[in-house]
């Protein structure tokens, strides 16, 4: 299948020589969710602005929906929907008025606007709040309306710039469900930026990790994790077995890790969980609990940048 988004050597330099994006390449096949993961100031929004034609690139090229983002701006815009990071809404207009304006600017005929507006409101669960002014919406409601606006003209490709930043866990997972549904039922390609590892992990078919304007790692969440980290096995001693005995057995499989509740070892490739179990059995060790921990995307980020993304894992204060 033809790539929905193809990016080659894309660069954006701002006045004063700030290179917000310094030469990125990426491919998103149609119908997939691409997670663009990176900390504050990594260059996520700058990339989204270029791909949505709002900001001309300094160098490089990109095609979105088969159209060149520089030479075929209007065609790109017809193909895409975007919910930008600011989620700029007019506090004096109602949800319904926003949708009607959006549909009108997209050239949807007056007779169809009403029905389509109701359909979109229903879909994002804002039917009851439709005739209230945005000024009184919660952060989650604003994000949902923004999503409905982005979907107004049935785009094939959707850009979501940090759609869940600042949302409470319920609103977050409601949005995740909607994104998954869009992909599954309508085959929409989604380019989603996030600072949350979990979000990229749960939602994305492929993940690109961006830091200081460069993509430092790229692949499926599973392959990225597999490439970097080997899993950790954690065991809790049971009746008649000491910590020391367990340590002795587990140490054969890799480097011991700090653990609060038992003994942990990062497997170094000498054997997997099966081998560990066999060794424990052979030594007649009694184990109360045994866990296999897969590496997280944070391990990947740490390995590639020497820093942890974890600090930004906690959702910020919900927006007023």
């Amino acid at each position: 299948m033809k790539g929905a988004i193809e990016v080659r050597g894309l660069v954006r330099e701002f006045k004063g020589g700030i290179k917000a994006v310094s030469g990125i390449d990426l491919d998103v096949p149609a119908g997939q969710i691409y997670g663009f993961l990176g900390p504050n100031g990594a260059g996520k929004s700058t990339t989204v602005h270029m791909l949505t034609t709002l900001l001309p690139p300094t160098a490089g090229s990109a095609r979105v929906g088969g159209f060149d983002i520089v030479k075929e701006g209007p065609a790109v815009r017809r193909t895409i929907g975007a919910a930008l990071q600011e989620a700029a809404l007019d506090p004096l207009l109602t949800g319904r008025e926003h949708l009607k304006l959006q549909l009108a600017l997209h050239g949807v005929r007056r007779t169809e606007r009403g029905g389509r507006t109701d359909e979109l409101l229903e879909r994002v669960g804002l039917r009851l709040a439709a005739d209230r002014k945005i000024g009184g919406y919660s952060g989650g409601m604003k994000r949902r309306l923004d999503l409905a606006l982005a979907l107004a003209h049935r785009p094939r490709i959707l850009f979501l710039d940090e759609p869940t930043t600042g949302l409470d866990p319920q609103s977050r997972s409601a949005l995740w469900d909607e994104v998954v549904r869009l992909k599954r039922d309508e085959g929409v390609t989604v380019f989603l930026t996030t600072q949350y590892l979990e979000e990229a992990d749960v939602l994305a078919d492929r993940v690109g990790i961006i830091d200081h304007g460069r993509i430092v790692a790229e692949g499926t969440p599973a392959s990225l994790k597999a490439e970097i980290g080997r899993p950790t096995v954690e065991a809790m001693p049971g009746e008649g077995t000491t910590q020391r005995e367990l340590e002795g057995i587990l140490a054969r499989f890799g480097e011991l890790q700090p653990s609060t509740s038992g003994i942990a070892v990062r497997l170094d490739g000498q054997g997997g969980l099966t081998e560990v179990v066999r060794a424990l059995d052979a030594a007649q060790a009694n184990v109360a609990a045994l866990h296999l921990h897969s590496p997280t995307l944070d391990d990947v980020f740490l390995a590639k940048t020497g820093r942890s993304l974890e600090g930004s894992e906690e959702p910020a204060e919900p927006e007023a």
Partner: protein, 255 residues
């Protein structure tokens, strides 16, 4: 494109109507000032050479120009806010022509300017002012009022597009006010005694806008006053429109 302009102009008017201070102030403030000034300056009508028996009739031109100023600044602040919040990006992502943004904005300014003009003239007639130029003169007053609000509006849009900051547009208020007050708003230019003030008022284009409307109220048909009023407002509109179209291009740099 016409449809896009209408939708954007409509939004601009809705926004204004939902911020009561933005439409009550221009309806009340200029008329309040008219009442105060008429109280204080009524005696001026006794000056030899004063062009009217009624100071109210003389002063009625002023609200039109001050009202245009309010409409301009309010709409300019709204446009700057759209830039600040990123709403302009939302619009830029639709197939909207970028020119529609500017024209729609100005359409909103003109709509408010026109509604205000209807109100000022209605109040003027209700308190006994008679138009020397008759009914047709009333129509010409509306046309001129619209042209003036358009001319001012382009500069409000320019400020918004250039600065992208609501504070910057707000700060135009005092600047515009200086232009408004150092003009022939209170007295005909030839009766202004302070030399520098008379010179400044003669150099100030706003004087000619006021005088054009005023001539229709108190004189009838004064070709020179009308030519100056229409000419200056048209020239301002053309310059303002050109400059704002240029800033719009750099502000909406979408490909």
């Amino acid at each position: 494109m016409t449809a896009q302009i209408l939708h954007l102009a409509r939004r601009s008017v809705i926004r204004t109507l939902r911020q009561p201070a933005n439409w009550i102030t221009p309806l009340v403030f200029p008329l309040a000032l008219m009442a105060v000034n008429t109280g204080g300056l009524d005696a001026a009508t006794n000056l030899p050479g004063f062009p009217s028996d009624s100071y109210l009739a003389f002063f009625l031109a002023f609200p039109f120009v001050q009202g245009a100023l309010f409409a301009t600044v309010n709409a300019g602040v709204d446009l700057a806010r759209d830039i600040q919040t990123g709403f302009i990006n939302r619009l830029a992502l639709t197939p909207m022509q970028s020119g529609a943004l500017l024209v729609g904005h100005l359409g909103g300014v003109i709509a408010m300017g026109f509604l205000q003009a209807v109100w000022y003239l209605a109040v003027g007639l209700a308190i006994g002012v008679r138009l020397e130029s008759g009914i047709l003169g009333g129509v010409v007053i509306f046309v001129l009022a619209v042209l003036i609000v358009l001319a001012f509006g382009t500069f409000g849009a320019l400020a918004a597009l250039r600065s992208g900051s609501t504070e910057a547009v707000h700060s135009l208020f005092p600047v515009f006010f200086v232009f408004l007050f150092i003009s022939s708003m209170n007295l005909p230019r030839n009766l202004i005694e302070t030399e520098w003030f008379r010179v400044a008022a003669s150099l100030n284009p706003v004087s000619y806008l006021i005088e054009a409307i005023r001539s229709l109220v108190i004189e009838g048909w004064n070709a020179q006053a009308l030519a100056l009023g229409f000419g200056i407002s048209l020239a301002l509109a053309v310059v303002g429109l050109t400059l704002s179209a240029l800033s719009l291009r750099s502000r909406m740099a979408r490909t």
